[in-house]
């Protein structure tokens, strides 16, 4: 046995992520202690309901990790809303102050992978769409004209009821094969995925180079060839 656990493992190591490692090590340790205390063989114990780990065991394991001061990264909005004390605060869009400029001297505030080659570039107002409340507001009151939706979610559900209303999409995650990429292609809405943003702010007027060729999912990323997001006001 290479660590506190009931099952020896000659070749096993640690998980990559500290949370996974913390949780699984703690579970292995609990299983080993319970097995040893039972006096039963593994085969007798593994199906014995009286020896099963319970919800309380798992609550304790997570509490032990939070007690170290660690806080988890949230991905779904509802998670942080319901249990804000468990999660780290959400990171804002970076602003290094070192943004490059384009041929006309305008700030380049981001680049991304083009889902498909649109007939032309699009100029519009950048609006951050990252919460249910923002989507609900646009669902009720309509999507403002010329909205370039800046979305930190490559899924297809958060913006489902209002996607059709966007003039363009800039997504800060995912790939061109992500659900949002698939849907924007179906709707023929110009879209950049996996966008790296620097200095883009809510309400900025931006020009997005959607007319550049679509990204090749199988090729290495060519940073210089990526369509740019250019601040024009």
């Amino acid at each position: 046995m290479t660590e506190a656990g009931a099952i020896p493992d000659k070749w096993g190591g640690e998980a990559m992520n500290p949370t996974v490692e913390f949780f699984h090590s703690a579970i292995r340790k609990t299983v080993a202690e319970r097995l040893a205390a039972s006096g039963k063989t593994w085969e007798e114990a593994v199906g014995d309901p009286s020896l099963e780990l319970t919800r309380e065991d798992f609550v304790r394991i997570e509490a032990d990790m939070l007690a170290t001061g660690y806080r988890f990264e949230a991905s779904a909005q509802v998670s942080a809303v319901e249990e804000p004390d468990k999660y780290k605060p959400e990171a804002a869009i970076a602003n290094t102050g070192q943004q490059p400029r384009d041929e006309q001297g305008r700030l380049v505030v981001g680049t991304g992978d083009n889902v498909f080659q649109a007939k032309g570039d699009v100029t519009g107002t950048a609006r951050l769409i990252s919460t249910v409340d923002v989507v609900m507001d646009m669902l009720v009151n309509g999507v403002p004209e010329n909205t370039i939706a800046v979305i930190d979610d490559s899924g297809g559900t958060l913006t489902a009821p209002i996607l059709e209303g966007f003039a363009g999409v800039v997504c800060m995650g995912g790939t061109i094969r992500s659900h949002l990429g698939i849907l924007t292609r179906e709707y023929n809405i110009p879209c950049l995925m996996a966008a790296d943003l620097d200095g883009l702010q809510e309400g900025d007027t931006v020009l997005v180079e959607y007319s550049k060729p679509a990204a090749d999912a199988y090729a290495e990323r060519d940073a210089a060839a990526r369509p740019r997001i250019i601040k024009v006001d």
Binding site: F23, S75, V132, L158, E186, A214
Partner: protein, 521 residues
């Protein structure tokens, strides 16, 4: 005591485990990263694997008490249901995912639940072999990433009946709008996963290639959260064969997703059809295909009802708790085999839409970060302790030291101790509202009991009277056999162009009949 399985059985089971590992690794790393600001996706995925682990063995035995896995595959192949490429092929992945997670937690050994594991592996292999009979591979990855599910008799009907269209005409536009709306709805109603979208093919056709695009579980039916919001959606499953020129579908994969070279461009669509079918239909039923104008109007209508359902559903989901979002996604993943129960006529909502007590207990662990990283390590990085092999090991595709799913040690054939089963299904619950509406089917809106009764009574004509085993390999050498004509006539029964034309047609005949019927106009 030695396990009651032969060495040959164990060899085959382990080969299936390894094939599943490699195929799933390819899909998980080649397709996309799943994330959502709305749904806690990876926590629900991981929990669904656990529900699969505890429940599938008993549920598959319940189904097979009525209908074998091979028969289920045959039945599924004749129609569009939620028993399709992705759902049939992913069953063992989810089940083995639950096993691997518990092994990594030290709660399970590779020698545990042996009888269950062997049974689920055998069941899923027989199911997929049967479902994919036409191309004689068990998964699309084995077929070079293509999925030619359908025999000539069905492809001919789709090609003959398709309505010609071109960019700028009403049908062309209506198809584009419909596909966008239904794709979006499919992601939302399935809690951000792709299980509602299905593609098969490609098939060579007169003008290029045909891809069969399908969308399933659209109406008030099994998904309880569609009760009310989808009350106006008339068709639960939609089949849309699309015919493309200048396009090669180079990938149709294990998740029924496609890629094309050059990229899919709707302008290249030159013909299209629309059908519905389900576990109660005896084949594909044409929908408003008498003319292009009629089909375009109907697609616009369907698109409007789906758009309305999307907006209504989104407003509901936006008010859900995290636990409700977890349960919806968990259940959508876990219940990938549910239409097998429908086909066999033993479907019970309770079996497929509750979370086992043994899974509920894990929920406190599944914050977003743990769920995200656990899934990333389990199916992407293959970095979990339990997955690591010896220091010389190099996995297929990744070359890594680990494999996704652990095999069963052969020592169980000797004196190694083992256990047989996870035991019977225990109680389950869900935080979501209970289902109240009827089930939308091709026979109308029915109760669960009526669905099961009708499914058990259903006879699919192309599988009856000695026709079940007459495949294309047989037809090749028996084109004039009366049984071949009968097989084709039964497939052609609802065809607008090929009705009663029989087994002797070649493509030029089909194209000529299309033209004569005005389908290109």
């Amino acid at each position: 005591m030695p396990a009651q399985h032969s060495y040959a059985d164990l060899l085959a089971a382990n080969a299936w485990i390894r094939k599943a590992s490699d195929a799933f690794y390819f899909q998980c790393t080649a397709r996309t990263v799943q994330e959502s600001k709305l749904f806690p996706v990876n926590p629900y995925i991981a929990l669904s694997y656990l529900n699969a682990w505890y429940r599938y063995p008993e549920l598959f035995r319940k189904i097979e008490a009525v209908m074998s896995a091979e028969e289920l595959g045959d039945h599924a192949r004749e129609r569009t249901t939620s028993a399709n490429i992705i759902t049939n092929g992913i069953i063992e992945q989810f089940y083995l995912g639950g096993r691997q997670m518990l092994m990594d937690m030290g709660m399970l050994k590779a020698t545990d639940a042996m009888d269950d594991v062997m049974y689920v592996l055998d069941f899923t292999q027989r199911l997929n072999l049967s479902y994919h009979r036409n191309h004689a591979h068990v998964l699309p990855t084995d077929a070079g990433l293509s999925a030619q599910l359908l025999p000539e008799r069905q492809v001919q009907v789709f090609e003959a009946d398709a309505l010609g269209t071109k960019p700028g005409d009403k049908l062309h536009t209506s198809v584009a709008h419909f596909l966008a709306a239904v794709s979006q709805y499919a992601f939302l109603k399935n809690s951000e996963c792709r299980l509602g979208i299905h593609n098969s093919g490609p098939y060579k056709v007169g003008g290029g290639e045909m891809l069969v695009r399908e969308f399933v579980d659209l109406a008030e039916s099994d998904l309880p959260w569609l009760d009310g919001v989808a009350e106006n959606v008339e068709l639960n499953n939609v089949t849309m064969p699309v015919f493309m020129k200048d396009t090669h579908f180079n990938i149709v994969d294990d998740w029924a997703s496609f890629e094309a070279q050059p990229s899919y461009n709707h302008d290249n669509m030159y013909a299209v059809g629309l059908y519905t079918s389900d576990y109660l239909s005896d084949g594909y039923i044409p929908v408003h295909m008498d003319s292009a104008a009629e089909l375009a109007d109907y697609l616009d209508h369907l698109r409007d009802t789906i758009h309305d359902a999307t907006q209504r559903l989104w407003k509901e989901v936006a008010g859900w708790s995290r636990d409700q979002m977890i349960d919806s996604g968990l259940l959508v993943y876990y219940n990938v085999p549910k239409d097998l129960a429908h086909i066999a006529g033993v479907y019970e909502q309770e079996d497929w839409y509750t979370v086992e007590d043994r899974v509920q207990r894990f929920k406190p662990l599944f914050n977003d970060e743990y769920g995200n990283h656990l899934i990333a390590e389990l199916v992407g990085y293959i970095s979990l302790r339990s997955q690591q092999g010896n220091e010389s090991h190099m996995a297929k595709l990744s070359g890594a030291r680990g494999d996704m799913w652990s095999t069963i040690p052969y020592s169980v054939l000797g004196d190694e101790e083992w256990t047989g089963s996870v035991g019977p299904i225990r109680g389950g619950s869900t935080s979501l509202p209970q289902k109240t509406a009827l089930y939308t089917t091709t026979r109308g809106k029915l109760t669960q009991d009526q669905c099961n009764e009708a499914a058990r009574a259903l006879r699919i004509p192309t599988l009856e009277d000695g026709l079940r085993h007459l495949d294309d390999a047989w037809v090749k050498n028996h084109p004039d056999d009366p049984r071949a004509h009968e097989l084709y006539r039964r497939t052609q029964a609802r065809s607008l162009v090929l009705k009663d034309k029989g087994a002797g047609l070649l493509r030029e005949d089909v194209l000529a009949l299309r033209k004569e019927a005005g389908r290109d106009d």
